[in-house]
Assembly symmetry: C2
Homo-oligomer: 321 residues x 2
């Protein structure tokens, strides 16, 4: 298998060129470099910078069981019918206790597996040097430079990851399902802030109307957004293909609004700020942990552990605050 | 109400003195300072440093539904019978989607609510400046200085938080329940590393023996720990009080081993290192975000967003890497 042999020996420049030429294997290897926090990433990011900015990032969030993968798969189908190239990045920031669930869901994506215009990839960030905020934007950057028109980023519906993923997207879908009314109530403060579009999936189930009404009430009580966009509520039964056309139309309207309002540029600037900060913070963290054994940190830790120094003063001494 | 009026006007020194004197209200306010990342924390940490190191930290982790709160409540009862003062810190690093669940569980703790020797507190870390790794050790430090003999820290069973909480504890309990065999399988790599003691709760349910056997098999296949401790498996039905005496005995054995092996000191040194690093990293992060509008970060973000610069070079320019 010459392709495998070549890929194993290639450096960042060859991988980037191959990925930009449509080589899914090279692209997968670039994402692995992100996942493994490879030292080669710096060179990769330098090479791809001029090729970024063309892709549109759609974030999908929601509690487990609401049908995120089904919605994602339906959207992939719809965008492929439009002739667009689509990438799906499933981020798994889970603990040992729930690991694996996300990959299981990927089975629903199998009908797109043979389509060269679709790239699907899970990425683990557990135990990651810089965490999700470090890895996810760099993975999106790679997919963007590889020329995908639509890049969907999906995460399991737990943890701060939800909010972080929303901050990476041009458009964020918050997906809910009937019979989860309590969680909608518990959630209202958080999801109103991050949703550009609400999707009530499994609309054929009992309680769907109530869920939609609850969401409407929450939105009516929310202070109007300074940016002039009112999140619509789309009712869908994604497993039967229902509501997907409407969702695609709402996403198109949001994309247009992002452009005319200047919000796309604001969001992308904010994303770049976050990305630079996360890399800077990870670099400092690495510098701290790379210090040799009987280092200053070790000495300071001893003082703090014995109660002879407080951790703030210790941190000051470490980095010269 | 003079107490409330006094507490509202008191500074760090008065709050620390009151909390050390057993004033639960002052203690709660100190934890709130941590939760809110108050600037007063620095002074609080300086004041309490000489009073830390006496408490024993027990971490409890496990997936939702395994009965963490029931185990915690039973352990509180057992330690109170020994005359020990007990604090429980429930850390909630959840997203908007699952927020609230943890506080609901606290209802099971109500039978300890009137006991002056017990302090129970939930702490949210979502959206927190420095996240769990910044806030949790400082909250533990406050509880330690307030003179609690036993400090239990519990988190919801999702996300990297599990692993982080384990790194804060002297002894970590990993709780599982029958009928979650798949998650045990999926989890094996992660939970073997962090568990000092396994608890199979709901031992009266079908599948308990199978769960115990699965755990034994996993433990037998694991490479022996360099530190010479073999995690025991305790079968319990905490809701009926069964297995709690055994668990308390295993915890006592682990505490003794921590002392004789030198592992307690190693763990506390590691904890102090992490704590100092987290504060140093948060300080840098704050410095980055506190820069004024048209700052260097803003300029760099513009270059990165337009593809004229890669984020690594931008981070270097920002912090002088």
């Amino acid at each position: 298998m010459p392709a495998a042999g070549t890929a194993d020996r290639t450096g960042p420049a060859e991988l980037v060129a191959a990925a930009r030429g449509g080589d899914a294997r090279a692209l997968a290897r670039l994402i692995s470099l992100v996942e493994n926090a490879s030292p080669q990433l710096r060179e990769v990011m330098r090479l791809i910078a001029p090729h970024t900015g063309g892709g549109r990032v759609i974030g999908l969030t929601g509690a487990p069981g609401v049908g995120k993968s089904t919605i994602t798969s339906a959207l992939v189908g719809a965008y492929r019918e439009q002739g667009q190239r689509v990438a799906v990045l499933a981020v798994d920031p889970t603990s040992p206790f729930s690991g694996g669930a996300l990959l299981g869901d990927r089975v629903r994506m199998q009908n797109h597996a043979a389509d060269a215009g679709v790239f699907i990839r899970s990425m683990a960030t557990r135990g990651h040097l810089g965490g999700l905020s470090w890895a996810a934007p760099q993975a999106l950057r790679v997919l963007d430079a590889a020329g995908f028109d639509i890049i969907m980023i999906e995460t399991v519906g737990v943890g701060q990851a939800e909010v972080e993923v929303a901050s990476l997207a041009d458009s964020t879908l918050v997906i809910v399902a009937p019979g989860m009314g309590d969680s909608v109530q518990a959630a209202k403060a958080g999801i109103l802030e991050i949703a550009d579009i609400f999707v009530v999936n499994k609309n054929d189930r009992p309680g769907a109307q109530e869920t939609i009404r609850d969401l409407r009430t929450m939105l009516a009580m929310a202070p109007p957004g300074a940016d002039g966009w009112k999140p619509p509520i789309v009712a869908a039964t994604a497993a039967a293909g229902e509501g997907i056309d409407d969702l695609v139309a709402r996403l198109a309207a949001h994309a247009e609004w992002l452009g005319t309002s200047g919000e796309r540029e604001r969001r992308r600037l904010a994303r770049a700020r976050e990305e630079i900060s996360a890399i800077a913070v990870a670099a400092l963290r690495q510098r701290l942990s790379a210090l040799p054994g009987q280092s200053q940190l070790e000495l300071l830790a001893g003082l703090v552990a014995r109660g002879e120094l407080d951790p703030y003063t210790a941190a000051d001494r470490l980095v010269g605050g």
